[in-house]
Symmetry: C2
Subunit: 764 residues, 2 copies
Amino acid sequence: MGMDYSKITDWILREDCFDPEKLGKCEAVMSLGNGYLGLRSATEEHYFNEARGMFVAGTFNKFDADEVTELPNAADQTAIDIFINGERFSLSDGTTEDYTRELNIRTGELTRAMIWTSPKGAKVKLAFYRIVSLKRLHVIAQRMEITPINEEVSIKLKSGIDGTMTNTGSQHFSDGDKRFYEKRFIQFVQTTGQSGIHFVNTTVHKLNIDGRALPADAAVYIERRKIYGGFDLTVRAGETLAVEKYSNVYTSRDFDTEGMNVTQLQELSLNVSKELEALGYQALKEESASCWEEEVWKLAPIQIEGNAMDQFSIRFAQYHLRMMVPAHDARMNIGAKGLSGEGYKGHTFWDTEIFLLPYYIFTDPKTARKLEEYRYLSLPGAHAKAEHNHYQGAMFPWESAWLDDGEVTPEYMDVDILTGRPNKVWSGFIEQHITADVAFGVWQYSVITGDEDYMEKYGYELIMDTAIFWASRLEMGEDGKYHINDVVGPDEYREHVNDNAFTNYMAHWNMQKAMEYYHLLKDNKQELFQSLNQKMDLENAYAKWEDGCKNIYLPTPTKENILPQDDRYLSCRDIDLSKYKAQEHVAGITRDYNLEQINQIQVSKQADVLVLFFLLEDIFAKEVKKASWEHYEPRTLHDSSLSLSTHSVLACDMGEKDMAYDLFRKAAAIDLGPFMGSSDAGIHAASFGGVWECVVYGFGGVRMLGGRLRICPSLPEAWTKLAYTIIWQGQKLAVEITKDDVKIENLTGTQKVEVEVNGKACTF
Amino acid sequence: MGMDYSKITDWILREDCFDPEKLGKCEAVMSLGNGYLGLRSATEEHYFNEARGMFVAGTFNKFDADEVTELPNAADQTAIDIFINGERFSLSDGTTEDYTRELNIRTGELTRAMIWTSPKGAKVKLAFYRIVSLKRLHVIAQRMEITPINEEVSIKLKSGIDGTMTNTGSQHFSDGDKRFYEKRFIQFVQTTGQSGIHFVNTTVHKLNIDGRALPADAAVYIERRKIYGGFDLTVRAGETLAVEKYSNVYTSRDFDTEGMNVTQLQELSLNVSKELEALGYQALKEESASCWEEEVWKLAPIQIEGNAMDQFSIRFAQYHLRMMVPAHDARMNIGAKGLSGEGYKGHTFWDTEIFLLPYYIFTDPKTARKLEEYRYLSLPGAHAKAEHNHYQGAMFPWESAWLDDGEVTPEYMDVDILTGRPNKVWSGFIEQHITADVAFGVWQYSVITGDEDYMEKYGYELIMDTAIFWASRLEMGEDGKYHINDVVGPDEYREHVNDNAFTNYMAHWNMQKAMEYYHLLKDNKQELFQSLNQKMDLENAYAKWEDGCKNIYLPTPTKENILPQDDRYLSCRDIDLSKYKAQEHVAGITRDYNLEQINQIQVSKQADVLVLFFLLEDIFAKEVKKASWEHYEPRTLHDSSLSLSTHSVLACDMGEKDMAYDLFRKAAAIDLGPFMGSSDAGIHAASFGGVWECVVYGFGGVRMLGGRLRICPSLPEAWTKLAYTIIWQGQKLAVEITKDDVKIENLTGTQKVEVEVNGKACTF
């Protein structure tokens, strides 16, 4: 009971049993959004355990000097207190029949229906409908229907805007202007404390009984941080009361309202309310559903035949991948939980480049470019971080928020079970591979899209600026080699390690790529070269890159062909990990050992060197990959949601098809699966990118290697067909894979595309 | 169902039916406290509608520049999440039998008991016990017992400290240090944002099953703003699991920890936890109950014979009057809701002097002195307010918080039903009578206690400094008279009035009293006179007082003997007020008319000129009082909780015994009565003082008039006896009133006391 997958062939994720102790699951995985705003699917009625949440991309604020900037939880406009004959409607009380909650990922509509009998016996049928418009980025629309079944009931509603929302107690907003217009338009202004961003919300109700319109002016209430109307109605048995509620939010950070003052935003928000009121729920829903069809399902169709759940899983990933991405504004990026919860504070990690970017590059290059422009626009923060740490160039923050926030990783998290104190989080200080990951993303984007405009404006500079950081980061050792000491690699169970293979190889790659581009610009783009040279003193930088590349210590495989993850890993002790490999909840090991102890064990949170193999596939020998896989895989707990998909893709490469498929299904189940607790703080954004990577990179066999497109598919046993589209340098290719065939069609057809298909060079 | 008064003869207020929609009532009226901290009686288990709250006196903080300082809602230490066989214990679910919640006002203990059957059928008996120690100001102690009835159950508890509490969304604290000591002492540090006050909380659990101690070290959790332990237990049928939880709070504002840094506070708090753990609940409860006996019930016993509810009512008032008063620290005063809720932000109003001070002066002069020292210590704020408004001397804030905060009245509240905008609150700008009320309180205190030390250190200066304000406040009119224009009197339904009788007469009284003291000091206390003269230029001030007193316009009665409340009231229109006179909820008129319209109607929120008669009883003719009473009483809606008791006392004076008794019972019912909504934001502090005034001033006939004690009782029909004690200039008098006799005994007996008893001069 809980999640029900019986309607997935209709694109519908269903919940068939409501549990007030497990609200977080559907709030997050059924959340609605459009990249501008994300709305957790908390119910209209309140429950103690609820975590209501609405987040507007990029509106970062810092609660106080000791906290880091985060996406504030904005005022709630979705709650409606419902009283039937004076009794509060709540599924915790009374009895509920025929309950269902459904998210239609094709249309982006959330619906809920049930028959509810109150503790005192009033029986009503209720239905709820809700969208966040993909067409109108600022708009939420709701519809509610209540039908008394046996006898007339009195219905009392309290509904408006609630600004008491916090991020687990941290209040980001100053209480602001509140007012009613024409007794029915309810408007509320809030302003973030540190970043000074105004939020203007306006909501309005439309009521009818069996189609007969009722006046929507309400008893009016203004309280601290709250403004709402009260409606008192009587509805006869068999009649249906329909209430529609149209809400919008505008902020002074919005790309489309630049330069407006708060009064202008208020006017705009009010006028939009009037427009929405005139349109009504049905029209708003339909126009938004059309956008989903055009912008997602027609844009990047993926077809899996053979297993309906797998088909739904990839579409579910695409649903969330669209919702989470601020495609409208390059000043923003994707948060680790998208816009679906407070978790990770809305911050952007390496997840963007390594796990998410490939999807957008191959399906929606315009959006991908926005994500990569963000890294350029946030260079001020990266420079500040480098300078603060006495390095040069661009040192990207492990966690990124607003453009000039710089490093925003919180310093403490969870509890050390031995000392009883919070754990220090070292990532913000020493998880430095992010800088190479950013450069890698730039390179990936530019090669796959062929977007030379991006490279000229942003890309070359980013790759060189990050390479300058790496050159300054190298430490000369007694062995005459450069080392990168005291870092955290992708495997965060190992802190303060030296010569993490992932970090060293990626730093090397980054400097090498900068040298390559140095020559390219010097030879072919003199003007750009001069301008970048002025900015970054490229001659001098080049000398350092050359020296760095030549003398950096790159870990070499052991005689057993295992690439050492760092200089200590392979000498640590082994313990029996079976308990944790079989765990239902992640991070079980941290409840038995503190991090210092974990550091002494051969255990990984996620596949560290395996990610390296995945990114720099062509520089490691097959036997090294194989031996390393066999060593690290059993020691990896997948306590990061990023780990499973990498393993799945690698397993494909290793020819371990069953394991690849098994890991894919586990990766797909991270949010979609039946486990009811792990999505509470929000969905796992990167894991949706990872699901796409499993399907298109893993089974679909797509890879960009050294600037060339390769397709080398390997369908899972369960599948009879896999079809997807990818865009390669402006040409959209339709790929159709069956058990024994690969068909590729160039849908754009304005240029020929060379592809290596199953080892053979082809042209389409 | 709801409040149950069947055990009031045992000093017990009882709730016999739990309604999760009506939580505020018992949270507030059954709240616990000791003047240092106030704890709302929210239940151990959570409900959506709960308003948990713990307030520490004097710890004011300002959330942001647009808000005023308020008492922050501190971290919660009382919640315990209870899961029985995996089902959350909640009275909203399953079935509950034998429910009772009881506040024993004699001992200050709150208890709760019930038999609960979970939705899936697990049946347990639960009992909860809780005190806030009157002996140890920083301490809360809880005990909980769970007994499975039919079969063994698993019990899971989550309990610790929750710092996500806000004041309706405003978060006053920065998240701070969190840690476990010895896996069981749970400590949490928070710091207020603007005022920088550290709060250190430590809590610890002690568990046993049928007396067999269990280890109290728990699974440990540290989250954002939360730290808690998890306990997993199995309890057999018939066995009782007992969990005791001892919590304390220390702040850097405390009088008893001055100079300690936060580390020292943490050590102290931890050590106190260890002490509490050793003592246990029973011992902590008993020592606290002894304090209640000594400090309240033996100190100021009041006996009413003839009606048990009335007897309970006055004791209930005394219970709250002790809990709300920061008797330990003169830098703090009484909030309008005591320490029992967010309402009125913990601010001090004229309520202290006019409605509360008499109780303390007559029963506990040391505490009364503290309250009056507060006014002296907060002179910096009063001077600042005068200066800001271009007046001189001490202009006291309408609402007071910390000593130098000055005026802290919020500028907006509720909604204007016509414009849809929040109402402007004018009190902070123009409700100026507070300054005379403060002076009046000083005078009352000094005359009744004879505390010349207070007068020399603080009192004379306060009365002169306030008089200087009034002299500067007077406005010369075209009629050659001084007027006080554009004010709000005690009747807040009339804004921007001129020559409010209460204000003008009290200003006059204030200046006159200053002149009187001027002579007294000049003649008898030369040194003090010189020092005050230097501070305030008394010669110059005296001239202004003399001019002011001579030329101030004092409203005179009409030919019908009605004293005009202001220069417009009597010419306003009359409307039919019967609907509002009969209202169940206060302020019904504001839902039909906006304040501008109410200003044009002869209607009063509270008895304005009647309060004047009450304070300056001896300067108005009996027929003026009578005629005014008959004019204003029918037009007064008692939409202020201060109004009923004044009316009751006045009705006694008017000889309207039945009405006096009726009004007394209504006043007593404000919080104690069965209405379940009106105490949500906290109890009505002044109304408890008013209840005492009804009993001792009204029926008991006590009054200080022109410096002399008068006792002129008039027992209600229902009562056969009333006995109380009062302290007059250091002599404690026991007064016993029966239908036809008044007995007075001087219990102290070190000095003779002159009393006018029923018109006759007597000595005791």
